[in-house]
């Protein structure tokens, strides 16, 4: 018994790296009622795999909080531990934050869907509140005073009448002997010191001094570097390779085959392993590789676009049906139709994909930037055919994610190479690899139809989405007989009161790897939807903002957002000639935001984006300054996607390769951004990372229409070339 407990303890120490913790609290599911509860794990730390430790308090007073969410810029390094720290009555300066490592017990460590704060808001506050109550009870026992006379503050428990105090470190051990309170009292939001406040992020000093460690910065002794040559035509197969020239380059040690796994897609590659990265790159250039393109060199994105246009004539699978669209549309006095197109795009986080893997005795340890420690663990285990317990993940800061680091193809490559050569190896993708190899956001087209009454009211509405499917390209099974919920997400949940609506989906097959991109489908379907609503307002001869409000007679969050936008943007103030403003909003799974964009026509007929007003609706806000930061960033990303470059293919090859031809918005193109937050408190907590993105493109294009009369229906477009 003692032995097994020692093993468990050692395993636990390996998991957390925390040694002398006296009080450990975690979350688990109660066997009895299956409800998530807080458990005391101090005595048998780590023995039970069902329990998830979150707080460690050592006798020395060191407090460690486990963070199951990746930090990729969105601020979870601060916002998630803050949930615990607030209730525990400690400041974030007083705690150490550690990332979890993919252990099954932490369950969902995936980071996406703008869900990090809202999914943890109550569970993690409960953990903090339970620990605080136990520490207070321990102090009251020690002093032999009533609990009601004690309170916690600044990592200490105080006795109010006498003023004496004990630190959490001094109380950790006696507290660990106590029962965990089943319903700890949560703080009144009015008493919050961290949540809802402008709190500085703890990662920022690290990030302004070069001290933050990203995946690419990880090192272990004896580590080698690898660069991988993969088929330039996605879908092609490796026939043979000649590595004789590569092996002659000084520093090159090995050349091995690799496998890149993206769900059901598997690509072969040839890795050049060297004692420095430059040598690996030189070796890679010297490889002679024969590929069988499997016919995919016939693929051209221009043809694919045309095929989607043809497919748009199909009826489509019904995603949503309300009233009788067909009859109402057929009988409508005014019929409006429009076709919108959005392209393939790349995520292009600033940190190229990379992973350091160390294979040893049938187990593998990895260091990487990933959006989900357990995704990394599970994908490596499955691909290498080893057990999940034999994969250990060290999460580093992510140099951007945007959905790209959900897929773990680069981690599988690194783990596989390390196993093949039995040495630690760091795989680093080049920017060209990152831009050209996907996974990409799916090209998505929309066929819009609406019937208007004589007084301009929408009586029938249809949004038909025509696109390839993310699930179909990567998931093992895909049901083509049903409308793909993912690819039509949000188009049927806009709160406009329209009586007859039929939204449909037309599936199109593709061989390319596709995946989620910041805000997922909202990033492609909000543009047609909200641009089309603008077209309807124009057809009805009405102000686009008022037109929307007229379709929102009942109270709704969207109505509040639009009303706020009207106020903060000075919507009713006329603009001088040559300027225009546009509005759009989007409510979807991650949350709700709206934008007003102001543009001006320049002397050379180009368009300048002058100002963007954003209103994000949150319910409850954890860090307002970080929310503004996220919305500012989402606007820039949306502006890039709308006005810079698409990913296109000719003869199967990606035509863009690096930032000179897959361009990003830069400093000199920045509009002024003003972000407003609607947060009236209450139980609703909406997402932050994604909602600031979808409505930017339609608001921008609506503004350009207002300024120039030109309606943009295809992204991307060039701000310098608008008629």
């Amino acid at each position: 018994m003692e032995q097994s407990s020692n093993i468990a303890r050692r395993k636990f120490l390996k998991i957390t790296g925390i040694t002398g913790a006296a009080l450990v609290l975690g979350v688990g599911f109660s066997e009895k009622d299956k409800i998530a509860r807080v458990f005391n794990m101090s005595a048998d730390a780590g023995q039970s795999h069902e329990l998830t430790p979150y707080i460690f308090i050592e006798k020395s007073g060191v407090i460690t909080i486990m963070n199951p969410k990746a930090e990729m810029g969105q601020g979870t390094y601060q916002s998630v531990p803050a949930l615990i720290a607030e209730e525990l009555e400690v400041s974030l300066e007083q705690v150490i934050v550690k990332f979890t490592s993919g252990q099954a017990k932490y369950k969902d460590q995936s980071t996406g869907g703008s869900s990090s704060v809202n999914s943890n808001y109550f569970p993690l506050r409960n953990v903090g509140a339970s620990a605080k109550e136990m520490l207070i009870i321990a102090a009251s026992k020690q002093w032999n005073v009533p609990v009601a006379e004690c309170y916690a503050e600044n990592a200490k428990v105080f006795h109010k009448p006498s003023g004496k105090s004990l630190t959490y470190g001094q109380l950790a051990e006696p507290a660990s002997k106590l029962d965990v309170p089943q319903k700890p009292k949560l703080k009144d939001p009015r008493d919050f010191k961290i949540l809802g406040k402008q709190v500085a992020r703890q990662d920022i000093p690290l990030k302004v001094s070069g001290k933050a460690l990203f995946g690419i910065d990880a090192e272990v002794p004896g580590m080698l570097y690898a660069s991988i040559e993969r088929c330039p035509v996605l879908g092609g197969k490796l026939v043979s390779f000649d590595d004789s020239a590569a092996l002659k380059i000084k520093g090159v040690q090995r050349v091995v085959k690799t496998e890149r796994v993206l769900g059901k897609i598997k690509y072969m590659g040839v890795a050049v392993v060297a004692d420095n990265y430059w040598a690996a790159l030189q070796g890679r250039k010297a490889l002679k590789v024969q590929w069988d393109y499997q016919g995919y060199d016939q693929f051209n994105s221009r043809d694919y676009e045309q095929s989607l246009r043809v497919l748009s004539k199909k009826e489509g699978l019904v995603a949503h049906n309300e009233g009788n669209f067909d009859r109402q549309f057929a009988g409508a006095p005014h019929k409006i139709e429009a076709f919108y197109e959005t392209p393939f795009v790349s995520h292009s986080p600033m940190e190229p994909m990379n992973c350091l893997a160390q294979w040893k005795d049938g187990k593998v340890e990895v260091w990487l930037s990933s959006q989900g420690a357990e995704w990394t663990r599970d994908t490596i285990a499955e691909s290498l055919g080893i057990s999940k317990e034999d994969v250990y993940v060290n999460m580093q800061f992510n140099g951007g994610g945007f959905g790209r680091r959900i897929l773990q193809d680069f981690a599988v490559e690194a783990a596989g190479i390390s196993r093949a050569i039995n040495k630690p190896v760091k795989v680093i993708w080049t920017r060209e690899d990152d831009t050209q190899l996907g996974p990409f956001r799916p090209m998505t087209f929309s066929a819009m139809k609406a019937g208007l009454s004589n007084d301009g009211k929408v009586t029938a509405f249809q949004h038909k989405v025509i696109s390839p499917s993310i699930d179909a390209t990567t998931a093992a099974k895909y049901d083509k007989s049903k409308a793909d919920e993912t690819m039509v997400e949000g188009i049927s949940s806009q709160p406009y009161e329209i009586p007859n609506m039929k939204n449909t989906y037309v599936f199109s097959d593709i061989h390319l790897p596709l995946t989620w991109w910041r805000s997922v489908t909202a990033s492609t379907v909000a543009f047609p939807h909200e641009s089309f609503v603008d077209e309807l307002a124009v057809a009805a001869g009405k102000d686009p903002l008022e037109y929307r409000l007229e379709m929102l007679t009942k109270p709704s969050d969207t109505k509040r957002v639009l009303t706020k936008l009207k106020e903060v943007s000075g919507w009713d103030k006329p603009l001088p000639a040559g300027k225009g403003r546009g509005i759009a909003q989007w409510v979807f799974f991650a949350g709700l935001c709206g934008h007003v964009v102001e543009v001006s026509k320049q002397k050379d007929n180009s368009i300048k984006v002058d100002k963007v007003y954003a209103v994000i609706d949150l319910g409850t806000v954890v860090n307002p300054d970080n929310v503004r930061s996220q919305v500012e960033g989402a606007i820039v990303m949306a502006l890039t996607a709308a006005t810079k470059d698409a990913i296109t293919f000719e003869n199967g090859k990606t035509m863009q390769s690096n930032f000179h031809n897959y361009r990003m918005v830069r400093m000199n193109e920045m509009p002024v951004i003003e972000v407003h937050i609607l947060a009236e408190g209450g139980p609703v907590i909406k997402g932050v990372g994604e909602p600031g993105l979808p409505s930017l493109a339609p608001a921008l294009c609506n503004a350009i229409f207002a300024a120039t009369g030109t309606r943009i229906r295809k992204l991307p477009f060039d701000l310098n070339k608008i008629a």
């Binding site: 990030k207 302004v208 990265y277 951007g400 500012e632």
Partner: protein, 158 residues
Amino acid sequence: MAELTLTINGQTHKVDVDPQMPLLWVIRDFIGLKGTKFGCGIAQCGACTVHFDGEPIRSCSYPVAGAVGKKITTIEGISEHIDHPIQKAWIAQQVPQCGYCQSGQIMSAAALLNHNHTPTDADIDAAMSGNICRCGTYQRIRRAIHQAADLINNNKTA
């Protein structure tokens, strides 16, 4: 291979590397200073920006042989206690998100402020447009540069 002597952040380092190897990889993987980042490899994004005698260069596209005899400064060398006016302003404005490009942004901004203590928005556009931030922190970078300039000027008069 060639034995080269580099002066980085006031210290001399001897390295035995391919003279064509970009300075970036020498700084990161031979000297071990990880703050300078790899973003594009073709001097398009600025994540690898370091200073040669106070002027910004893109270390990803600069053969290490050309760095011999230069006074090289990396992000680790601009202050000992994260108290360079630019770092202070960057923290005050809460500029970084993912942070990956920020070493390069800060090095470009530091070079601008080295010879221009009153940069206009146009000066900032000119000096900073070679640095990409995919997280979109440009508005905060602009504010932080103005704030850092104020900090420098207030110190001068104080």
